[in-house]
Amino acid sequence: MTDTAAPPDAVSVDKVIIRFAGDSGDGMQLTGDRFTSASALFGNDLATLPEYPAEIRAPAGSLAGVSAFQVQVSDHDIMTPGDAPDVLVAMNPAALKSDLHMLVPGGTLIVNADAFDERNLVKAGYETNPLDGSDLDGYMLITAPMTSLTKEVCKDLGVKPRDAERSKNFFALGLVSWMYSRPTEPTMEWIDTKFAGRDLIIAANKAAYRAGHAFGETAEIGHQRVVVPAAPQQPGTYTNINGNTALAWGLVAAGELSGLPVFLGSYPITPATDILHELSKHKSFGVTTFQAEDEIAAVGSALGASYGGYLGVTTTSGPGVALKSETISLAVSLELPLVIVDIQRGGPSTGLPTKTEAADLLMAMYGRHGEAPLPVVAACTPADCFDVAIEAARIALTYHTPVILLSDGYLANGSEPWRLPEVDSLAPIPVEFATEFNHTNADGEPEYWPFLRDENLVRPLAPPGTPGLMHRIGGIEKQDGSGNVSYDTENHGHMVAVRAERISQIEVPDVEVIGHPEADVLVVGWGSTWGAITGGVRRVVNAGHKVAQVHLTHLNPFPKNLGEVLARHKTVLVPEMNLGQLAKMIRAEYLVDAQAIGKVTGQPFTAGEIEQVTLGALDD
């Protein structure tokens, strides 16, 4: 076994999409993750899509229990985990049944033949064994007795057959690593660290990996060895990161940049829980995490901490935002900083908790009683979650307002290589609390007015503990300036207008138009559709069509130049993982005939789909 990254007999391709699918117990996420990491270390660009089964452990071997991990590995800058896999690894009949339709025609199909026994076939709903018939004729089929070969190599190590069986995913990894010329060493090292202290397991996993690798070398699997060369990348230090980790780190960074300790009030909910898990680990940054009794207490405690001078944050998914809306409305009224993170999932109601969707935009905008405007930002890639978390905190702390940050299940669990920023290059977030009187009353005495605004209409903040500046605030309408309760109707009208204006005046960067300079069709996107749109538009532009793209990180307020950009293009398409929510906002704001391209199947868009609709729009 060699560790040459590019063996002499390998053909070079510019990208490959591989999908590992198996039972939840088969370790497919780990396998996919390892393949990804090895590819990342090798220097490829990549994008991943883990797909877990629905929340409860389904019976082994069932269709409901299928877990899959798709990764696209490329020698160039890519945007998505790919449209259709070139290679499908199916560890059991259920995996084959559920995912075969995705494989490109003529694609490579690797199956664990041992798993295709009577019991598993029945569970997957096969009447006859698909490996026997001619159903798979259109694919390059590689059947490997993964379980038995793994048991075999483990026997000598003294590993019990039942334990040995668990290592069969490393067989698959070894085989695919051979086929795609991935380096072996990083995986060996990783096994050593991951299973440190459990020597038998280390030995079994390594043996299985090597067996798979050897199977590739020796068995006549008829598959050409392939290499995906490294992608040209900006020099720097890279790590492979998923969206939720990046988001958590962004919040830690925002705390450091602002000099404020972070307080996270949260209640577990898929797919947001991992942010709570991650932040719970970072106490040495002064991060306080609080697992509240429910979402209302989660946001309430975060707001209380913000009032106390912390950077208050709350993380949740759609159902949680719905529950939090009354308190968010209080935050709007109190004009306190607060970051509300919504990792969107399939809805309505409990919906599809483990599938992605982006249908909470209008709730973020309007899901509160009364006129209660607040800024909304959205992340576009896993690594971007880091930047957008900082941006959300920056807006919250600069303008003293709650901010909603939208991410989604696809970004949360998907990962990509991330060139680490230099910490010193991150812009500080200056925060200054009030320490002095700011007003003189009729008797000529100085006093503190909590709602005396600056030129940006921003009020001062004096956390409790500040000598002399004692004051009272609340959710009842306040006199602008003094902050005293006011039932005055004119003042209320004024305050409603001021609250609207102060949000609409927030400075956000202009949108950049990417693509053809004189495009007829403009594709407008937000959130995790970025990758698919960029990929799709790039294909169409490369094919010579007049198409361009803008991406919105800031959904409220919109970038100042957006209206003018929209006006320049004949056709405006808005692909979204909902029924057209951003399209609605654009239409209302700019009276532009933005066409909604909705996808709400719990699956992200592929670049191919974007390519199709864009071409379709060009035809019109």
Partner: protein, 347 residues
């Protein structure tokens, strides 16, 4: 960077002396004339100067309701949040700012109806809050509907034929929720209020005080049978730590144990030695619970005072300790190192 909050908080050292008027804000107090809330306010404004605390370190957090207007009248920091959520807001504040004295105040609707869950969780966690539940057995602010403490059969606008459910006994609820400090007082006795609030203030952790308060507009006289001056001797059983639980003009009645609880007895019948000596410190809340069951409602002899005051870890400090310990052992977090904590590679 984030080790200390960059708020200009008070220097250490003695707090300056204050008088009652220092604690009064410039806002006109707007309860109905005769409302029991006035005397609660007075009790607090008289107590705080005695406690020698700083105004800027004192915060009043409330929900919505008549009682919840309280913060506006105190010249301290204060937030009038939303209905039922004051314990949640205060929990975040208390965890963030252990240097503050936080009072949470609200009505029976605010804290036991819509806010019941936050209340019991704050008690369970033993968050460092002084919680005053101003119980008038009615919704005052919304003009007179029955509340979770209204007596069975109460006729109100929303229960024209009488409300059928059984009320909560707030002291029992708090004890069932693991509260470490539980007390009761009433608006007709300023001294007793002051002393009870002082004890709540001194308690480390969540201190829960039920305050019987007369809403003279929508539920006048709800507590009259026990709090009227001439009724008190016979109807209020003052719990005093270390003393036999006796009441009556001559101390002629008392509380004694009986099979499965406690009961009211005549000393003449049972003798002095049979009288239960009150012990707030018992770790087992069973006796405190029994005492809370003595009266079904405020019309038979009713215990007031501190039912329970026992030491338990305060939540905010426990959380802060974890942060301090990690920081001490691993050093302050280094952002650059964090970003490099997963496998990295160089290009």
């Amino acid at each position: 960077m984030t080790d200390a909050l960059n708020v200009a908080t008070t220097d250490v050292g003695e707090a300056p002396e204050t008088s009652r008027s220092d604690w009064q804000s410039d806002q006109e107090v707007r309860w109905c004339p005769g409302c029991g809330d006035y005397s609660v306010l007075t009790a607090i404004q008289l107590l705080l100067p005695e406690l020698g605390v700083r105004r800027e370190n004192t915060v009043f957090i409330s929900g919505i309701g008549c009682a919840a207007r309280f913060p506006y009248y105190m010249d301290t920091y204060g937030v009038h949040t939303i209905h039922g959520r004051s314990p949640a807001f205060a929990t975040g504040l208390a965890m963030a700012r252990p240097d503050l004295d936080i009072w949470v105040i609200g009505g029976d609707g605010d804290m036991l109806s819509i806010g019941g869950n936050h209340l019991i969780h704050a008690l369970r966690r033993n968050i460092n809050l002084n919680i005053l539940l101003i119980n008038n057995q009615i919704y005052g602010l919304t003009k007179g509907q029955y509340s979770p403490t209204s007596e069975t059969g109460k006729v109100t606008k929303s229960s024209p034929m009488g409300a059928t459910p059984r009320p909560f006994n707030p002291v029992s609820v708090a004890l069932g929720a693991e509260a470490s400090f539980v007390a009761r007082t009433h608006d007709m006795d300023r001294k007793h209020m002051q002393e009870t609030f002082r004890r709540a203030y001194l308690h480390d952790g969540a201190a829960f005080v039920e305050v019987y308060q007369n809403c003279n507009v929508f539920n006048d006289g709800a507590f009259g049978a026990i709090t009227k001056k001439d009724a008190r001797d016979d109807m209020l059983i003052d719990l005093i730590h270390g003393e036999p639980i006796r009441f009556g003009t001559e101390g002629e009645r008392g509380v004694a144990r009986r099979e499965g609880g406690v009961q009211i007895v005549d000393l003449a019948d049972v003798g002095e030695d049979a009288i239960l000596v009150h012990d707030e410190l018992l770790t087992d809340p069973s006796t405190a619970f029994s005492l809370s069951r003595l009266a079904e409602g405020p019309h038979t002899p009713t215990p007031i005072g501190v039912f329970r005051a026992c030491k338990r870890d305060e939540y905010g400090r426990a959380v802060a300790d974890q942060i301090a310990n990690v920081t001490a052992s691993r050093g302050k977090g280094d952002l650059s190192a964090l970003l490099r904590s997963l496998p990295t590679w160089e290009v």
